[in-house]
Amino acid sequence: MKRRTLLTSSAMALGLAATMGTAALAQDEPLKVGFIYVGPVGDFGWTTAHDVGRLAAVEHFGDSLETVFVESVPEGADSGRVMTQMALSGADMIFATSFGYGPEINAVAQRFPDIAFEHATGYLQEAPNVSLYNARFYEGRAVIGHIAARMTESNVVGYIASFPIPEVIMGINAAYLAAKAANPDIEFRVVWAYTWFDPAQEAAAAEALIEQGADIIMQHTDSTAPLTVAQEHGALAFGQASDMSSFAPDVHLTAIEDNWAPYYIRRIQERMDGTWEADNVWLGIPDGEVVLSPFNDRIPADVQEEANAMIAAITDGSFHPFTGPINRQDGSTWLAEGETAPDGDLLGMDFYVEGMTGEIPN
């Protein structure tokens, strides 16, 4: 067989497999859903949270759902190959759970118009079968900002940030605004670690912050190291993405958990019913997508009540963490009295709010 004919016939075979995959949907076979993860399912953070969502869907749908996942898929060309492979092996729906998969998802989606693609934290929608979803983590950060402000004794909060991108800056501002409202003397010290995950670096950052007088540590990096350091030094801390209390039971106050299960179950159900449509959603505490882990008993009852009231207010829509008047750090007006932040402003946020010290690195 010549090389060219070999390629043609294998392409045909692949095409056949793809047709069979979509045809299967019409029968009473289980819906096949693929998940693509950027990290290992055991990272105890971002990817673990997505996999918990997948498992919840498996539990919910039982035999009518079949899932596959590929972990540690690098952003870039490799992810396109993984998606194509999933599509060819008969997936009806694919969840890709990292920002950097965007170009590949859109390219693959154009080739497989019958497959529903869901992209977490993305912004590109170049095909009618690409849907975007994200979570309003800043709502959770506002709640922990309030708790931190009410519990600190040194009035210094240490914040371990990853990269200076809008998502992270938004989190710092949300936490700071809520903290400032509860305690006008509060001061935030931000350390940019320039990594999402490097336990040793994060541990050193936490130590440096505690040494500089911070008695509460917040983190926007993924490892549990800052918590263990906080426990060692008797400082307080918050978990990231998952309940991390087992690493620092004495000082873990609560964690902002990502709860993707409700969204996954709803969208898979829609795909089964044939009502799925591409969308662009940004869900938060009201939708149960951002959840705070059970409060540590160390949080005084009145502070717990205030935090719960804040969660309730965010849930019923009466409170938005970014409600004016809010000025930028340089003193210029961002939001007027009573105005709430438009989503576009948040997603492009590149400035600190008034009162924050330090500067955002370029």
Partner: protein, 310 residues
């Protein structure tokens, strides 16, 4: 925002801790390279040490048994590399890279059941009232046992390489394996032992991360420390005391930049995080010129396979 809020004593104490994993891995790799072998698998050996040490420490509830296990595990993984490169004459660069990939995957597999567990605590050594002394108390008498062991290993390596017959043989093997062979030294045996020593040190360095520094197990937790250790050996131009100085310099840059940030200073974080790698690249460039290579004293047979002819 003033410099006085940074306490130099604490800074030095914490840079010693931050530097210990790379110091251990680098001093092991130094011996390996001195014997003429380039093992790029440091990262892989470190992470296997990290997971094995963690698993045994959790199972036995004894951190010291965990460290011992990490030493053994690191040496065993290194033995795979030794078998490939010394007995089967495989390419050292490719085998070393493969070892890193293998180590990362293998550790993830073994570590699956150990995610989210807190290991037994490694106590700081008790020097009684000495620890309460001003300045020196915290810098000299305020650490856990591995910090002291790492310093001892550096001193012992220096002494052994320069002052003993065994060390001279190892250096001869690294400088010119054909001559060493002609003189009757067992080139392959020396190199296999050196590789195992390197693995043991890297494994211990990994265990320091998972048992003392972090302490918990997460996949990929070495996060590039093995590569910094490799760079460090070149940076130190294959001299033990310079490895120590380099490790504390690299560790110091990291700790200092974090402290400066925490104190509210505006510093170019990106450049400081890059600096260990940048310095190493500069050293490598200098080394690549033939005159530079001599002055840097790279072992003559570094990276070349030895096959006894006749």
């Amino acid at each position: 925002m003033d410099l006085s809020s940074i306490n130099p004593v604490v800074l030095i104490a914490s840079l010693m801790v931050a530097a210990t994993p790379i110091l251990l891995a680098a001093i092991g790799e130094l011996v390996v390279e001195k014997s003429g072998v380039l093992n790029l698998g440091v990262e892989g050996m470190m992470i296997v040490g990290a997971v094995s040490g963690f698993a045994i420490a959790v199972t036995t509830q004894n951190p010291y048994l965990g460290m011992l296990a990490a030493i053994v595990a690191g040496a065993l993984v290194a033995l795979i590399f030794a078998a490939l490169t010394q007995l089967l004459m495989a390419n050292q660069v490719a085998s070393g890279l493969a070892l890193t990939l293998f180590g990362l995957g293998f550790s993830a597999l073994v570590g699956q059941n150990y995610v989210g567990i807190v290991p037994p605590r490694t106590p700081k050594l008790d020097f009684g009232p000495l620890t309460d002394l001003p300045v020196v108390g915290r810098i000299i008498f305020g650490h856990d046992i591995l910090v002291y062991i790492s310093l001892l290993i550096v001193a012992a390596t220096w002494f052994w390489l320069n002052k003993t017959q065994g060390g001279r043989v190892l250096r001869a093997v690294g400088e010119n394996h054909d001559s060493a062979h002609a003189l009757g030294y067992k080139v392959t045996r020396v190199r296999i032992l050196a590789i195992m020593f390197g693995g043991a040190c890297a494994g211990l360095g990994g265990a320091y991360l998972s048992l003392v520094r972090v302490p918990s197990w997460t996949e990929g937790m070495t996060a590039g420390a093995g590569w910094i250790a490799l760079a460090l050996v070149v940076f130190a131009s294959w001299r033990p005391w310079r490895v120590l100085a380099g490790a504390y310099l690299f560790g110091g840059i990291m700790v200092l930049q974090l402290n400066l940030q925490a104190a509210g200073f505006r510093i170019p974080v990106e450049y400081l995080s890059m600096s260990p790698y940048l310095i190493t690249i500069v050293v490598l460039v200098i080394m690549s010129s033939s005159r530079g290579r001599r002055s840097m004293a790279a072992p003559g047979s570094l990276g070349r396979s030895f096959h006894a002819a006749g």
